[in-house]
């Protein structure tokens, strides 16, 4: 038996490989990606079947691009996402700045209101928004979807940016003011540029979230055109259409691209860890 060197304290507790946990993890990753893999694979299926793969073909993609209803829905989803992104970022950034810096009673009330969408199931906010629009006699349309999505997204922007703003050094802003800038100028010329990477990243993220959102859009949309996710819902409820696999694959690719972009933006600005989305910290 050879003499082993003493190990450092914090390593010994974790050096045994927990076989059960690693097996569960492997199985989990398999099951996590299996459904996505199935959608992608069968979007290229030459046949209508969802269980048998027969030959590579792009026919479902071409079916999608020739389907005017789906294309109109795509256009509407893009418009809604753009407007919701712009609206919620403007309102959310201002709210986040106010919440971090203003510790008045109004500030804590605003902080509470901001949490409401995060702890309410989406079906409730959806029902509530629909009732509000109907009660005010507003015809449901892409406009009502935009309003509802903005309301919902403000909280996300604020949550993402709050910790970033709190991490900023307020002395830099004060230095600008000592050099003669007004508070507004200091905010515009010093604070906002420092926040720009996080703001851009949250904007991209909101775009992806709104584009993929279903429940809120389902309750607040009018008849025609409907957002793409609502169309997908009605399609998969009434029998299987392989075109949905193609649409789903395109949406997947889009979401993953946008998430990648959101994560990459802070690095493009030469900063590491701009969005603490993944660490959960």
């Amino acid at each position: 038996m050879t003499l082993r060197p003493p190990r450092r304290l914090h390593r010994r507790g974790t050096d045994r490989r927990p076989r059960l946990a690693l097996t569960v993890t492997t199985l989990f990753f398999l099951l996590l990606y299996l459904p996505i893999g199935v959608v992608v694979l069968f979007s290229f299926n030459g046949q209508k079947s969802l269980t048998v793969f027969k030959g590579f073909s792009l026919r479902w993609y071409s079916a999608f691009f020739h389907d005017n209803v789906l294309i109109e829905s795509l256009g509407m989803s893009l418009r809604v996402s753009l407007v919701a992104m712009a609206g919620s970022v403007v309102l959310g950034v201002a709210l986040a700045l106010g919440l971090v810096r203003c510790r008045t009673r109004l500030g804590s009330l605003a902080g509470l209101i901001m949490l409401v969408p995060l702890i309410t199931p989406e079906i409730v906010t959806g029902v509530a928004a629909m009732l509000l629009f109907k009660g005010m006699d507003i015809t449901l349309s892409s406009g009502t979807v935009m309003l509802a999505e903005i309301t919902f997204s403000i909280s996300y922007v604020t949550v993402i940016l709050r910790s970033r703003i709190a991490a900023l050094n307020p002395e830099v802003e004060e230095a600008a003011m000592d050099l003669g800038a007004t508070r507004w100028q200091a905010l515009r010329l010093v604070t906002l540029p420092a926040l720009l990477p996080s703001i851009l990243a949250s904007a991209v993220l909101i775009f992806a979230l709104v584009f993929d959102d279903f429940v809120l859009a389902y309750f607040t949309t009018g008849v025609d055109p409907q957002p793409l996710s609502v169309r997908i819902y009605s399609a998969i409820r009434f029998g299987v259409q392989p075109t949905i696999n193609a649409v789903g694959t395109l949406m997947l690719a889009g979401s993953i691209g946008l998430i990648g972009l959101a994560l990459a933006i802070p690095r493009l600005f030469g900063r590491r860890g701009g969005l603490d989305l993944l660490s959960g910290k």
């Binding site: 989990f28 459904p35 309102l91 203003c102 906010t125 029902v127 509000l132 309301t151 949905i244």
Partner: protein, 300 residues
């Protein structure tokens, strides 16, 4: 004590100037007003309409009667509510059982791939919920790979079904929301002082004993946060029951959807929505009391 900065702005004791507070309030106002106008007002509207009635033409009328609230006692609703609670709770437990080893493996054995692995879990979650659910229902379908694999190893026979059963709905909820369990658990395990595990081993605790008496209690708050984050959306979900469960396995979300779209009885739908909110509120109170206690203990 008021002080002056070189720029001459008057500051309060904490170093904030009056002009600053005013600017921050102005910045906060639009977002807060927007949320109050659209969100808080609409939630109050739902609560109010739950006390309303429908006129003979089926149009909702505001009122002040408790018929809709009383209707919640109907056994038909009670069954659906209990089923929803049951499904959401089981989904929470399954999420915990699956998520814990995953978070544990990544946090303690992920090494330099930690961030990459967590990203690999989070990214699919950002993909369209319906597309993921749809793919999941194909995977769990009768001719799908999961049942084929289970049959091959003898865990299922030709009659076993996953879809169109409660198992299917729970599988859907777990697939939909497990990421909400993994992230707080991962954060808790990351934060945990690993020398605690070491201490457990030094006191001759076996791996299992150390896990149940050291690791699990140390990450209790992460598990509780995850349970709330899974339970909330699981209770309100109606897609999973529709796609994976069918008409016999409907949840309260399906009832609400039905009252607003097919049944066109908005007051009743509002009452159902409030019932769900009440159940969730009770759950949240329990969670808050629990975390308060934990924090008080930690402070002692």
């Amino acid at each position: 004590m008021a002080q002056r900065t070189p720029s001459g702005a008057l500051r309060d004791r904490r170093g904030r100037s009056a002009s600053g507070t005013r600017l921050w309030t102005w910045l906060m106002l639009p977002g807060t007003l927007w949320m109050t106008g659209f969100l808080i007002a609409s939630l109050i509207l739902v609560a109010t309409l739950a006390l309303g009635t429908t006129d003979p033409l089926g149009n909702p009328r505001f009122g002040f009667n408790f018929d809709n609230i009383a209707a919640m006692a109907d056994p038909a609703y009670r069954i659906v509510l209990l089923r929803s609670l049951g499904f959401a709770l089981i989904a929470c437990v399954v999420c915990l059982i699956v998520a814990y080893p995953v978070a544990y493996s990544i946090a303690l054995h992920g090494g330099r791939f930690k961030n990459l692995l967590i990203a690999a879990i989070v990214v699919p979650f950002f993909a369209n919920y319906l597309v993921r659910m749809y793919g999941w229902s194909v995977v769990l379908s009768d001719g799908g790979p999961v049942l084929k694999a289970l049959r091959a190893v003898g865990l299922a026979d030709g009659h076993t079904k996953i879809l169109q059963s409660g198992v299917g709905v729970i599988a859907g909820l777990v697939y939909g929301f497990i990421v909400f369990m993994i992230i707080p658990l991962y954060a808790a395990l990351e934060r945990m002082d690993l020398s605690l595990i070491e201490a457990g081993r030094d006191l001759y605790g076996g791996p299992l004993r150390t896990f149940f008496f050291v690791t699990l209690p140390a990450t209790r708050q992460g598990a509780a946060a995850g349970a709330v984050l899974v339970f909330l959306p699981a209770m309100g979900d109606f897609v999973s029951a529709q796609l994976m469960g069918g008409p016999d396995q409907i949840m309260i979300g399906n009832l609400i959807q039905d009252k607003f779209f097919q049944g066109q009885n908005w007051p009743l739908g509002s009452a159902l929505t409030m019932l769900m909110m009440a159940v969730l509120f009770i759950g949240m109170l329990g969670y808050l009391r629990r975390t308060r206690k934990d924090e008080a203990e930690a402070a002692r």
